[in-house]
């Protein structure tokens, strides 16, 4: 595919993603904050269903050599510290980088003006400090781009089966208690 086709297809996939997020309610401030307070588990249900559906499909496609996987590099240092900083922003803003785009489409002005400006500024700040400021943190507990089955030395499909079972159990517990 040439570059232009990729850009157009990406736009189409983005439209589908945005459509789905809105139908799930994940483009709304109140739904996202209610998730972070664990009063309403809509967002976690969407995410975990996407994970097990996607996981099963892409690992089958990988067996047939139709796709490659791109697990990200990381270390406990950057993922834990970056994750906590992200989490603070997630709660203070009430949107994440994907759902904020959906929130803009849904009509949220605070997302369009404040949130977007903030994310751009935060990303820019990181780019100014990269890579020097983060070398030590990146070396703390570095696991490269390992996957969980690689780290635990189990077969991919054992891990997938295990993950799907855990996710289903979580769903059953949530539904049984009316969450």
């Amino acid at each position: 595919m040439n570059n232009k086709k990729i850009l157009i297809l990406s736009l189409v996939f983005g439209i589908i993603f945005g459509f789905l997020l809105q139908k799930g309610g994940a483009t709304k401030y109140d739904v996202i904050v209610a998730q972070l307070l664990f009063n309403d588990n809509t967002v976690v249900k969407i995410m975990l269903t996407a994970v097990i559906t996607g996981m099963t499909g892409i690992y089958i496609l990988k067996e047939f050599k139709l796709v490659s996987l791109y697990p990200k590099q990381g270390s406990f240092g950057i993922n834990a510290v970056g994750g906590l900083i992200f989490g603070v922003g997630f709660a203070v803003l009430g949107y994440c980088p994907g759902t904020i785009a959906g929130a803009i489409g849904n009509g949220y002005i605070d997302a369009a003006i404040g949130g977007t400006a903030g994310i751009l500024a935060g990303s820019y700040l990181y780019a100014l400090l990269y890579p020097k400021a983060f070398i030590k943190l990146n070396n703390f507990g570095n696991y490269g781009n390992k996957t969980l089955p690689e780290l635990l030395r189990v077969n991919d499909w054992v891990m997938i089966f295990f993950t799907v079972c855990i996710v289903f159990s979580i769903f059953m517990i949530l539904e049984a208690h009316g969450y």
Binding site: G18, F19, I46, G54, S68, I104, G115, A121, L148
Partner: protein, 171 residues
């Protein structure tokens, strides 16, 4: 069929399955996992270039992630359009300046909400870059690939988010 498209809400399980299936197609056709936050980093470089081309060109980050329109920026623009279409056809599009839950706790000042949104956004953007992804890139796409980096990040997103939301809303 049309009645489904105009429903305000779908089951979160149906939405999640849809996103999972969409991921198969992004892996097959784009050879990319779904992600959103790098688009903001590239865009910040594009804006920076308007002020100082030299600063941006000299930064290592923008050598690795050039500030140009790439697939992910198109994807994020698509999200805005897709969410608008869904909201509009189901009569769920509303201009909201201060979200309801926020107003109940912190009042309905628009200026105050915008200032806090900017601060929250800075943490979010910086944290996403440090962790190497966001709720989509790590939380959905990375987790489905079973990447260790993504599961660790996603867990800490919700620890940080949960504790902060508790301090803001439940105390």
């Amino acid at each position: 069929m049309m009645s489904y498209l105009t429903q305000i809400r779908w089951s979160p399980y149906a939405v999640g399955a849809g996103i999972g299936i969409l991921s198969w197609f992004t892996f097959i056709f784009l050879k990319k996992p779904i992600g959103c936050s790098t688009a903001f980093a590239r865009a910040s470089g594009m804006i920076g270039k308007l002020f100082s081309r030299k600063t941006i060109n000299g930064k290592q980050y923008f050598k690795e992630y050039p500030p140009v329109i790439d697939w992910e920026i198109m994807f994020v623009i698509g999200i805005v359009i897709g969410a608008f279409i869904s909201a509009y056809i189901s009569g769920d599009f509303n201009i909201i300046t201060v979200p309801r839950l926020w107003a109940r706790e912190f009042g309905d000042s628009f200026i105050f909400r915008i200032i806090i949104s900017i601060i929250g956004g800075i943490f979010l953007g910086f944290g996403a870059r440090l962790a190497g992804g966001c709720t989509s890139g790590h939380g959905i796409s990375g987790a489905m690939q079973m990447a260790v980096s993504s599961w660790v990040s996603a867990i800490f997103f919700f620890i940080g988010g949960g504790v902060t939301a508790y301090l803001m809303f439940s105390l």
